[in-house]
Symmetry: C2
Subunit: 205 residues, 2 copies
């Protein structure tokens, strides 16, 4: 089955995370590994999850260029197929991370209400910058489907879109607005039957 | 000796990091543990470094409120005395992290050139928001000492200031501009004699 779902494995329990990853490996495009797993296990978890599919590491890198580049290098050396960086920290950071990332995704806008405080003022400029710096995609929220379309148009890049499910975004609306991949976490991994839940989501498309 | 230096232990090699921490423990206010150590070792490194002093964890949390709060909880449970969050992700993120952090420091402005791309437009609003949300301090760069004074005035909070040394900021200028603590990394831990280097920096004050 062709799936455009990126499963956010935001599960602290490594055993549970790997069990879910194995169970749904054929039903997802990639796994997103974030803070909960990395903090508990260190970066070696990347290799473990890689056994079941591509891994995009999402610790929303948001440090100075030198540190951010080192982080990307460490993640890539463990087998990360992609890394996510916060565009907000600036062009020089994105440029340095680009050098060490196999695939680079830049957060242009986020799915939570606080996104409107500061980020949304800059998100169009960030999307354009991401394109200019050779990113492979941007991250833009399914909770604001109109923004997916706008930011995709500006950047011409693939859009990875979080926010479907628990946060209130709709799979169908996000897809219709031009999202290429949907990042979904809680509504899948907290389901008693993650595989069935994925099928259910995909059938809405 | 009363020291206002926070040593950024951005060293990947755990053994080296702990050796330096032990060596300089009486000469620093606290240790800042960031990505390089956390990625390699997971959060258990916080307890190890805590043996030699207070630990402020700096992975510049920049995720949605729910994830950011969980990250802060995990870090605090390992003994983090303080955590650093990116203010630009918004008030709701800062509010959630506040609930789980012993001491909370909010990045209002950064030390690298890319700070001027998007963050600097928002930094004064971020500094004020940090105060309103009960942060213990803000992070503002020694590379722009005038900004330290401005952001300190707006927030009325302690200022932790990175950028002295390798990045070009001056200890004396940062102090004169109102910085309370100087976050210094490379110029100390890359020195053949970290303890002596600290004394040298402090004697400039």
């Amino acid at each position: 089955m062709e799936s455009n779902i990126i499963l956010a494995l935001d599960v602290e329990d490594v055993t549970k995370a790997l069990r879910i990853a194995e169970e749904v490996s054929e039903f997802v495009k990639a796994f997103k590994v974030g803070y909960p797993l990395i903090l508990g296990s260190g970066v070696k978890i990347i290799k473990d999850v890689s056994k079941f599919g591509e891994v995009i590491v999402d610790i929303k890198i948001a440090d100075i260029p030198d540190v951010s580049k080192n982080v990307a290098r460490i993640l890539s050396s463990q087998g990360a197929d992609g890394v996510i960086v916060q565009g907000f920290v600036g062009r020089d950071v994105v440029r340095e991370v680009r050098k060490e990332a196999k695939h680079l995704y830049v957060v242009a806008e986020m799915s939570h209400p606080g996104n409107a405080d500061y980020i949304s003022e800059s998100s169009e400029r960030i999307a354009l910058m991401a394109k200019e710096e050779g990113a492979d995609g941007i991250v833009a929220p399914a909770t604001h489907p109109k923004r997916i379309r706008a930011l995709k148009q500006i950047s011409g890049l693939k859009v990875l879109s979080p926010g479907v499910g628990t946060q209130g975004g709709s799979y169908r609306e996000a897809m219709e607005s031009g999202a290429d991949y949907l990042i979904i976490g809680r509504s899948i991994f907290m389901s008693p039957d993650p595989k069935h839940k994925i099928e259910e989501i995909l059938s809405q498309g």
